[in-house]
């Protein structure tokens, strides 16, 4: 290596370091310290933290709420990811076609992106209110009896999932829309000449070409399924009996309501492990089918 190579090395790090310092300070360092703290007890007032080994993890394994919340979160992921991606593709296809009132439709799909979830959650809560809420007013008109969507453990989580899909799909649509516009028109014309049906064309041409976008979007969707808990605060507070509680919400509760930071760290470690597992699974599943650069 010559002196020039040495200088390049220095330059590279000069460019990199500001970002890396912040990244390490707010991602790698806290992740490591979280793990560290999960082996200690929570300091309270005059009682300092002490090393407790795996005690927090034993508590975790025996914590029925944790297992329930974990199950909820997996169901939440399963409910939000495929649905929001599928709806996003559908939206993009519609908005990309020559539709009457396309401008309005596109705006409608996109509005959830600019409305803060914490605020619209109140509106959704009204929709779900039994008796005089919007959904019950509509179903009541057709003679159905009222249903307590958020107050019934069998529907609370699903009601929350619907709101998350509503929030996300329009945002993902933008990515698909951009990708669709790069697909050459000639492909479509050629397919039409060969008499290929619309569904056939989508399955054999459009969808494979959208695969990189799908990878990108679904990574985002996975992350959101563990991150998006704002509406829980307003709509259910995790209830009834934790039926709609999610991991991040439980971490918040443990840390900032119960003030049990050590156990919150333990929960965070569990969440991180879960995220890694999902990411690896997703990578193995999708990577082979993506023609990335």
């Amino acid at each position: 290596m010559g002196p020039l190579a040495n200088r390049t090395w220095i330059h590279a790090w000069l460019f990199l370091s500001p970002a890396m310092i912040l990244l390490i300070a707010f991602t790698h360092y806290p992740a490591a310290v979280t793990l560290f703290h999960s082996f200690f007890s929570t300091p309270r007032g005059k009682r300092p933290a002490k090393f407790v080994g795996l005690e927090n993890y034993e508590t975790l394994l025996a914590d029925t709420t944790f297992w329930k919340v974990l199950g909820n979160n997996l169901w939440y992921a399963l409910g939000t990811i495929p649905a929001s991606v599928a709806i996003a593709i559908l939206m993009a296809l519609w908005v990309d076609s020559k539709l009457k009132g396309r401008g309005f439709v596109r705006m409608a799909y996109f509005t959830p992106t600019v409305l803060p979830l914490i605020a619209v959650a109140n509106i959704w809560m009204f929709f779900y209110t039994p008796g005089f809420g919007l959904i019950d007013q509509i179903t009541g008109f057709f003679g159905f009896s009222q249903h307590n969507w958020l107050g019934d453990p069998s529907t609370a989580l699903n009601a929350v999932i619907v709101v998350a899909v509503w929030k996300e799909a329009g945002f993902f649509m933008i990515f698909y829309l951009a990708a669709l516009q790069t697909i050459p028109v000639s492909l479509r014309e050629a397919a039409a000449i060969e008499g290929a049906g619309r569904w056939y064309f989508f399955r054999r041409v459009t969808f494979p070409l959208l695969m990189p976008t799908t990878l990108f979007v679904s990574v985002n969707a996975v992350i959101n399924s563990f991150r998006l808990v704002d509406h829980i605060f307003v709509m259910t507070e995790g209830g009834p009996d934790n039926a709609s509680s999610l991991l991040l919400f439980y971490i918040y509760e443990t840390s900032f309501r119960f003030w049990d930071t050590a156990y919150a760290s333990t929960l965070t470690v569990a969440l991180l492990l879960l995220l890694f597992a999902v990411a690896i699974g997703q990578f193995l599943l999708l990577d082979k089918r993506v023609h990335y650069r």
Partner: protein, 428 residues
């Protein structure tokens, strides 16, 4: 851009007292309060604060609206841990043990010097003081206190053939009236429920009304032992569950607290249980004649108290603590307490506040305001323990599991008691 650190007022004051030692200077106080804005409550707090400041030019009070009760305790503890504690705050009475455990507050006994001050502590209703005292010391001064009461729709009573001026007085009557008040349309769909006892978020509070009426206390005054599995508690829970499951006079599932006043206004329910803090709201918005009554009795009458107390934080200078005490004494004095009570519907926390001319004129004009006060003689301390938020969450989860039919009341309460024991055993 305002990126510089917003220094805690306390730190500023401390710095000032160092640099200007000896010179007369203003005492700065930061004061967190938790009332829902939009009503008169926030305006009243601010007006009272200004009035005090005008009379005491040497004290500056920065009144910070901190959100719901939940937000306020979170904010206050966060600030304490960050070394930026406020000097005083109104926080839920039940958070006393949490604040003690976090070493955040000082007992009033440490600040009180004169006999007059000691008398002052005795001026409040004993029912309220129960949640202010532990271990022989007083940590909180009742201010924004409430108790649940029963509101009923007189029009609906008339339509159901009931006397619009006689609310249900017992558990049996609540069911009996509820059945008459539950209206179904031709297809069997309920258009009006008889009773609404909301159960979202913090079901334990209204439930404590039922458990008290069944003559059982949920936790001891040391805050380290709960009674969730007591047969009387289970019986009370069974009654609550039966209201919708057996008698079908209440909507099934978890009933939203926040939507409850609206549901009452809309005629979705003919009777609702909620806080007296909603009195002003109901008076302003109910499109029909309504009545306010004490909760019905079973073995006895009963209700929990609720709402917030004043606390003084440890991390302040002696001048600040003295000034905070003085402010609290002033704002909880009869005239101010009466003003506050009239503006919000919260219960003025001391008997002499009800003797002021303003208050007398108010209750003469609006007698329902007296119901909460009269109920106080039957009221007990609100459920409060060490690790309070966690214990109440466990209890809430159990109540919710029973209400939604996931567990029997017995199972749910045994489960909750077991979990609570596991946590509280460290405090015995």
């Amino acid at each position: 851009m305002h990126f510089t650190k917003k220094l805690g007022i306390g730190a500023v004051a401390a710095a000032m007292s160092l640099s200007m030692a000896g010179a007369a200077q203003a005492v700065d106080l930061q004061f967190y309060f938790p009332v829902a804005v939009g009503g008169k409550a926030a305006d009243t707090i601010e007006a009272l604060t200004k009035e005090y400041a005008a009379a005491h030019p040497d004290v500056k009070i920065d009144a910070v609206y901190a959100g719901s009760y939940q937000n306020t305790i979170t904010k206050a503890l966060t600030a304490v841990k960050g070394g930026q504690a406020p000097q005083l705050s109104v926080i839920l009475a039940v958070d006393m043990f949490t604040l003690i455990e976090e070493d955040a507050i000082v007992p009033f006994d440490d600040l009180i010097k004169t006999d007059a001050d000691k008398e002052w502590l005795k001026a409040f209703y004993p029912a309220f003081m129960e949640n202010s005292q532990t271990g022989g010391k007083t940590y909180g001064i009742p201010f924004q206190r409430s108790t649940p009461v029963m509101y009923w729709n007189k029009d609906a009573f008339k339509k159901a053939g009931l006397d619009p001026n006689t609310p249900p007085a017992t558990w049996e009557e609540l069911v009996e009236f509820g059945k008459k008040l539950t209206v179904k349309d031709a297809s069997g769909k309920v258009t009006q429920w008889g009773v609404r006892i909301p159960s979202s978020g913090f079901p334990y509070w209204l439930f404590q009304g039922l458990s008290t009426q069944n003559d059982v206390i949920l936790a001891n005054s040391d805050g380290n032992k709960t009674n969730f599995a007591d047969p009387k508690v289970i019986e009370a829970l069974q009654y609550l569950v039966d209201l919708s499951a057996k008698h079908e006079v209440m909507a099934p599932g978890i009933i939203e607290w926040g939507a409850t006043p609206k549901a009452f206004f809309e005629g979705e329910s003919a009777i609702m249980w909620t806080t007296t803090g909603n009195l002003t709201n109901v008076r302003a918005n109910a499109p029909f004649e309504f009545g306010v009554a004490m909760l019905p009795a079973n073995k006895r009458r009963g209700a929990p108290t609720g709402g917030g107390n004043f606390y003084i934080f440890k991390d302040s200078t002696d001048e600040q603590k003295a000034a905070s005490l003085d402010f609290i004494k002033w704002i909880s004095a009869p005239t101010q307490a009466a003003k506050w009570s009239i503006a919000t519907g919260y219960v003025a926390p001391r008997p002499d506040a009800w003797e002021t001319p303003e208050m007398k004129a108010y209750v003469a004009d609006f007698p329902p305001a007296l119901v909460a006060r009269d109920q106080l003689q039957y009221a007990v301390a609100e459920l409060s323990t060490y690790q309070n938020q966690r214990i109440t969450t466990i209890f809430n989860d159990g109540l919710e599991a029973a209400i939604t039919g996931k567990m029997s009341p017995e199972e749910a309460m045994n489960d909750a008691q077991q979990k609570a024991d596991k946590i509280l055993k460290d405090y015995r």
